[in-house]
Symmetry: C2
Subunit: 150 residues, 2 copies
DNA sequence: ATTACTTTGCAAGTAGTTTGCAAAAATATT
DNA sequence: AATATTTTTGCAAACTACTTGCAAAGTAAT
């Protein structure tokens, strides 16, 4: 089988998968939403909104549309956010089967990821990987009792 | 002993403690730095830069100075940051003896804190406290091997 | 096809934060 | 204590990431 046909098949699959996910989450199917979601399915990220915008075919949609789509994906939990650099959100497809976290180098900003989810163990593993001067930031988000009543 | 004298003593203690901390961290002692650090020692936070600015005596320093001081405190690790709301940094004094994390209500934005540091246990405890629809975000920060060499 | 509703591009606006620069304050040197 | 050197500050302007109003274009239900 020619590799060209193979990669074309993959694109179709991503598009089909995107359409399915959009519909399943009550979002209408538009060109920008399909493109952005396909991209996040294909490349794992996490990516900033600008990185995503630049990865899209030129002039294919506006940067404001990228932000709007990403916000909708976050609302529907199709996409997760990470705040790794100050003032700059990063986005990636939320695959609950592959829950994971990130480490960013304080100097070169390279982002690495890991699947462990217990803090001491994570820190030991990161030390083994050669990281130094490790810090972490852990925040929880939920709805408090007061707000559940109101 | 009159309570007035007592509270005055406390203020002196905070100022003395601030001066000590500034010097220990190689920062020169200035009025804004003393005021901001004293405030963070007195009230735990976490507070946004604007909240801190508004808590200071009126016209006592510029908002840009508050940002500059907070950034220096973060660099020297006197202060920790939390990114609880999108695009809005929160700051609090970093007391290594009282390592803890935060939960923010998705609706009313009220910030609560807890000292547990293992994820499953934390989530169980938060459920017991009455929170619903809990998510978490955990990021690590460190210096990678490549950057240590360079 | 027609209708009702949603989304988009564009340009302008906003929030939070940073920066250049001259004046003022803090520290080091004499 | 006076002076020199270095650092910090206030102010205004700039900047970055992100959002929004609105008219035109697209989507989806009938
Ligand atoms: Mn990831
Ligand atoms: Mn706290
Ligand atoms: Zn690095
Ligand atoms: Zn609440």
């Amino acid at each position: 089988m020619p590799s060209h046909a193979h990669s074309h098949k993959k694109v179709i699959d991503l598009e089909a998968k995107s359409i399915e996910l959009l519909k399943a989450n009550g979002l209408s199917v538009t060109a920008p939403r399909k493109m952005i979601l396909s991209l996040l399915l294909k490349e794992h990220g996490p990516f900033s909104a600008e990185e995503i915008f630049k990865k899209l075919p030129k002039y294919s949609c506006d940067q404001a549309t990228v932000y709007r789509c990403l916000n909708q994906f976050v609302e529907t939990q199709l996409v997760n956010t990470a705040y790794l650099e100050k003032e700059l959100a990063h986005f990636e497809f939320n695959d609950p089967q592959h829950h994971h976290h990130h480490i960013i180098c304080k100097l070169c900003k390279k982002i690495d990821s890991f699947h462990d989810c217990i803090l001491d163990k994570i820190e030991t593993n990161l030390l083994k990987k050669g990281y130094k001067d490790i810090q972490h930031r852990l925040e929880f988000f939920g709805v408090c009792e007061t707000c559940q009543k109101a």
